[in-house]
């Protein structure tokens, strides 16, 4: 159907987007790759020559590396566990006939639209402050000692803040998936006397499988690079320095660009591993 004329026109129309994204990807990435093999200290002498794989070795052997990997894994894992579990429960609940469903949906989705700096600061100051925070009041009401959230339970606090932001996303996607479930199949199972739990385990959960995978993959990509939530709360102290934050500190705070760039390349590789799985699912869907 497409003439040769429209083919070449089509290619021309695609060009700006493709060229821009290609430049956006290749230019900075090439620079990072180049820096990662140099001893590059902008404030202390600039580019001091090539050092081979030195930066890569130093980045992973520094005492900050493994704790940062651990912090990253705990935060990503914790947020995923909370958002997926409660996301499934909330989605199931919202799928039921309830009064004021539209309003409840709006309430549940709202946190997703709050900018990260606001949610982090509101939680940090107004909820987790050990003196005036609401949680301190609540603890006090039950006669318990107020918790110094961000210093005594720093990872849990960050997980709570980030999970609050991402729960709406998980819920919304899982709800969309549940609503596409064939209700006749469920009714048939109900008629045959299958108890609710086995209906959930044998029909609902398998149907949700792909949606859950998508939620996990997309959230992982975003969660690996959370920044603002740590920037305005702990600044990476108390063991909340994630891989992203460590690289940020190496590059901009201590201005050791070579070392930070090697870390950046590690981060790119890590993100790509997750991305490959996501692309497979998305790619399959394109064919359908």
């Amino acid at each position: 159907m497409a003439t040769r004329h429209s083919r070449s026109a089509a290619r021309l129309m695609m060009a700006p987007a493709v060229i821009l994204l290609l430049g956006w990807m290749l230019v900075p990435l090439t620079m990072t790759l180049w820096f990662s093999f140099r001893k590059y200290l902008p404030m202390r002498g600039g580019d001091l020559g090539g050092v081979g794989f030195d930066n890569y070795v130093r980045f992973v052997t520094s005492s900050a590396f493994w704790p940062s990997v651990q912090a990253t894994l705990v935060i990503v894992g914790g947020v995923l566990a909370i958002t997926v579990t409660f996301g499934v429960l909330l989605a199931l609940l919202l799928d039921q006939p309830i009064w004021g469903q539209g309003i409840v949906r709006i309430l549940v989705i709202a946190p997703f639209f709050v900018m990260p700096t606001v949610s982090a600061l509101v939680w940090k100051n107004m909820f987790m402050d050990p003196v005036n925070g609401l949680l301190a009041h609540l603890w006090g009401f039950f006669g318990a000692e107020p918790v110094q959230w961000l210093s005594q339970a720093p990872l849990a606090s960050i997980i709570l803040i980030v999970a609050w932001q991402w729960l709406p996303f998980a819920t919304l996607i899982l709800l969309t998936a549940i609503q596409s479930l064939d209700s006749e199949q469920l009714e048939a199972a109900e008629m045959d006397g299958a108890p609710p739990l086995s209906r959930f385990g044998h029909i609902v959960l398998p149907h949700l499988g792909r949606a859950i995978t998508v939620v996990v993959l997309i959230q992982t990509i975003f969660l690996l690079s959370i920044f603002a939530e740590i920037f305005v709360t702990t600044q990476g102290s108390f063991g909340t320095r994630t891989l992203t934050y460590l690289i940020y500190q190496r590059v901009l705070e201590s201005q050791n660009v070579g070392l930070g760039s090697a870390g950046g390349i590690y981060a790119v590789i890590l993100a790509n591993i997750v991305a490959i799985f996501l692309m497979r699912i998305v790619g399959k869907n394109l064919d359908a």
Binding site: L21, A110, F113, V118, M126, L172, S225, G260, A267, A271
Partner: protein, 276 residues
Amino acid sequence: MARAVSTRRKLIYTLAAWTAGLLIFFPILWTVLTSFKTEADAIADPPVFLFFDWTLENYAIVQERSDYMRFLWNSVIIAGGSTLLGVLIAVPAAWSMAFVPSRRTKDILLWMLSTKMLPAVGVLYPIYLIFIEMGLLDSRIGLTLVLMLINLPIIVWMLYTYFREIPAEILEAARMDGATLREEILYVLTPMAVPGIASTVLLNIILAWNEAFWTLNLTAAKAAPLTAFIASYSSPEGLFYAKLSAASTMAIAPILILGWFSQKQLVRGLTFGAVK
């Protein structure tokens, strides 16, 4: 479909859902309420919920002390500008991929998506350096360009999925009637695609408005949008809860309203069609 539900069961579900909804929404509600309190009421022990002297003074103080409108304006320009620019570049690309697909269309789409997954911190210094060299650091133009680029893959994807739903026969009919390519896009395709384009614009304004890596790292005083403005409340101003709340409420209100209109598009835009 018509499953008889007893009123009692519906009541239980309703109660549970409302409890969960209010619990999740509570931090936002609390922030909005606190913004209308005096600083003394804001830290009252025990906390006051509704019965306090409502006041608007915090909003006035925030504007007066920190020139809030300037940050708001920066956010509007950067979020709006990057979205507009992105859509202008993405519409032709999405059109050609949806209506004149080639063998490589799928690969190109997936490749575009992969650029979205590049961790920002991995290219922080190069971008920082390029910005300094080109005098773009702390400028609205620079930030607009960066946010356009990071959201371009999502814009292309969303438009592509919307365009694919438009039957190609209609376009062919227009072509038969002698419409040129430009006319075809302008007068036939665009009117049909308006709802799709509108939702794409909406979602991308939200994403750009809330972006908090580049906006924090590439701005200082001049071009800082609301994300950076709020971050400046980190300490010690953040301990003035009423003012922090007023500033926060103003920063999230516009996007909360836009967001509620775009819930449906959220799923499409953020899962790249993997969940329908």
